[in-house]
């Protein structure tokens, strides 16, 4: 260490100058913001529930099941996603489809989001493009493990996110939090 650094006081003053400069610059920006200059920002903070940062279009969010034109699921219950899932969080029960052109339909399609690792393999594996992770919904939580299990009906009702990446369908409320 140089002699000046060993003396410490000089370094203390230079450090205090730096932090004080930050303080007064940010304080000025905060005051300017309060006086109506909305472009002046004294902090890098994003005030989360009111303010959100833009989501990437590639973001893997809550799954949804894609519908056919008649509203039935596009899924043919081929079990590809269930097989590829590394977390074993997908549970499918297959059933006969009334239309003979279509082989099968899921009688049940449950995703346990408490186990899901959001790897997106199910979307990759699907030969029918029947499952997607583009709802933009990230804020699902529950007071119980059962509340994290999302059923076929819930997943079918979801819509893809808008162009701004924001969810267009309401966040599904798990059973244990329904009023």
């Amino acid at each position: 260490m140089k002699l000046l650094q060993r003396f410490y006081l000089v370094e203390v003053v230079s450090g205090l100058t730096l932090t004080a400069a930050h303080f007064f610059r940010n304080m000025g920006l905060h005051i300017a913001h309060a006086l109506g200059r909305t472009d002046a920002r004294g902090a890098v903070t994003i005030q989360y529930p009111e303010e959100r940062r833009p989501y990437s279009p590639r973001l893997r969010s809550l799954h949804r099941l894609v519908r056919r034109e008649d509203g039935s699921p596009r899924c043919v219950a081929c079990m590809m996603c269930e097989t590829v899932c590394p977390a074993h969080c997908i549970y499918i029960v297959a059933a006969e489809h009334p239309n003979p052109e279509i082989e099968k339909v899921p009688a049940r399609f449950d995703i346990d989001l408490g186990k899901c690792v959001f790897c997106g393999y199910c979307v990759e594996a699907c030969p029918e493009d029947a499952i997607r992770m583009d709802t933009g919904i990230l804020e699902f939580s529950s007071y119980s493990r059962d509340g994290m299990i999302y059923t076929k009906e819930t997943l079918l009702a979801l819509e893809p996110a808008g162009a701004d990446g924001r969810p267009t369908s309401p966040v599904p409320i798990p059973a244990d939090r329904r009023p």
Partner: protein, 362 residues
């Protein structure tokens, strides 16, 4: 009866000032650190939707702490464990009593000195109270039946001794120039003008002592960079076994000590309630010319000046607290005993030499 009322009023003013400042400092600490670090800081607590820049957070904290479980370890000393936080807060609170916050107020033929208690040995009183404050910390450390707490208490005692010695020695120069141990007299002595224009504030006449006193004073508050007694990341410290409001009282004692040290620095080195060129009957500029002001306005200005100076000192101490990293225990000891203490002695010698050469106390 009137005398009693006046005495009560003086004490109440100081008490409310110090207590409110102590409570507000929790808010200042959060907000100032946030602004220094490009953040926003706590702003969520609200009453009827009003957030007031997070000013309700101290209130929310108090409610939280009062409603928490007051836990006492099974092997802790029942009496001392309960007493320690109160001792800590009490001595931090009463230390402010002899710091003057204004000149003499003349109302209806009475002369009211604006300090809670007029003491001839005011400085010694503040030191005594600050030193006694460490007993609370030591009691907490010892009575908790926890080795980390004991370690913290022992560190606090060692740090306090090394800091107090440096504080006591560094203000000797101010006392020599002021010629009195009475805080009021010391502040008055700083009202003189050097060479006809420079206020003889302690920071001008005793620059070395100012740096030494401030360093030792920050050490006496046990806050970063001298928080070895707490050392959150290593031993957690003397209050490790405390919870709820008792823990809050230790934190509060630290804040109160910050206010006391800020008040001391203001009184001894920043001219206390003095405003440059403001005398008892108005403003008198050194280049001639004067503006007459009513007595009450002068007194109000002086009290306001004192409060502003204390707030500025608190700002500075917070700036230090949020800028510097913690000293290691041995570094803090070395700084106290091998740095601050010899320099304070040197300062006494230099002051004596100066007084010998340029005349005695003014």
């Amino acid at each position: 009866m009137t005398d009693l009322g006046i005495a009560f009023g003086r004490v109440a003013f100081v008490m409310l000032f110090v207590l409110n400042m102590g409570g507000l400092l929790t808010w200042v600490e959060r907000k100032q650190s946030a602004i220094m670090q490009d953040r926003i800081g706590a702003n969520r607590a609200s009453i009827f939707g009003f957030r007031l820049m997070g000013l309700f957070h101290p209130l929310a904290d108090a409610i939280k702490m009062l409603t928490k479980e007051d836990f006492r370890p099974a092997r802790a000393d029942r009496v001392l464990f309960g007493l320690a936080p109160f001792v800590s807060v009490f001595f931090a609170l009463v230390a402010f009593a002899s710091i003057p916050f204004g000149d003499v107020l003349r109302v209806a033929g009475r002369e009211i000195p604006l300090q809670a208690v007029t003491l001839n040995v005011g400085i010694l009183y503040v030191f005594a109270m600050l030193s006694l404050g460490v007993y609370g910390v030591m009691m907490a450390g010892w009575s908790s039946a926890n080795n980390f707490a004991l370690l913290g208490g022992q560190r606090a005692a060692a740090l306090m001794i090394s800091a107090e010695i440096a504080i006591g020695a560094s203000i000797m120069g101010v006392v020599m120039i002021g010629g009195s141990l009475n805080m009021m007299d010391i502040v008055r002595a700083q009202g003189h003008l050097l060479w006809g224009w420079l206020p003889a504030w302690g920071i001008v006449t005793q620059p070395l002592a100012f740096v030494l006193f401030l360093t030792a004073g920050i050490a006496a508050t046990k806050r970063i960079p001298f928080d070895t007694p707490e050392g959150e990341s290593e031993i957690i410290g003397y209050f490790i076994e405390y919870s709820g409001m008792k823990f809050g009282m230790f934190a509060m004692a630290d804040f109160l000590e910050t206010v006391v040290i800020a008040g001391m620095t203001t009184s001894l080195f920043l001219g206390g309630w003095q405003i440059p060129y403001l005398v008892a009957d108005g403003v008198r500029f050194p280049w001639g010319g004067a503006i007459g002001l009513p007595h009450l306005l002068v007194v109000l200005l002086q009290v306001g000046a004192f409060v502003v100076k204390v707030c500025a000192m608190i700002f500075f101490m917070m700036l230090v607290r949020w800028t510097l990293p913690r000293f290691r225990y041995d570094q803090a000891m070395r700084l106290g005993w091998l740095g601050l203490f010899p320099l304070s002695i040197l300062n006494i010698a230099l002051t004596g030499l100066g007084l010998l050469l340029w005349g005695g106390p003014a």
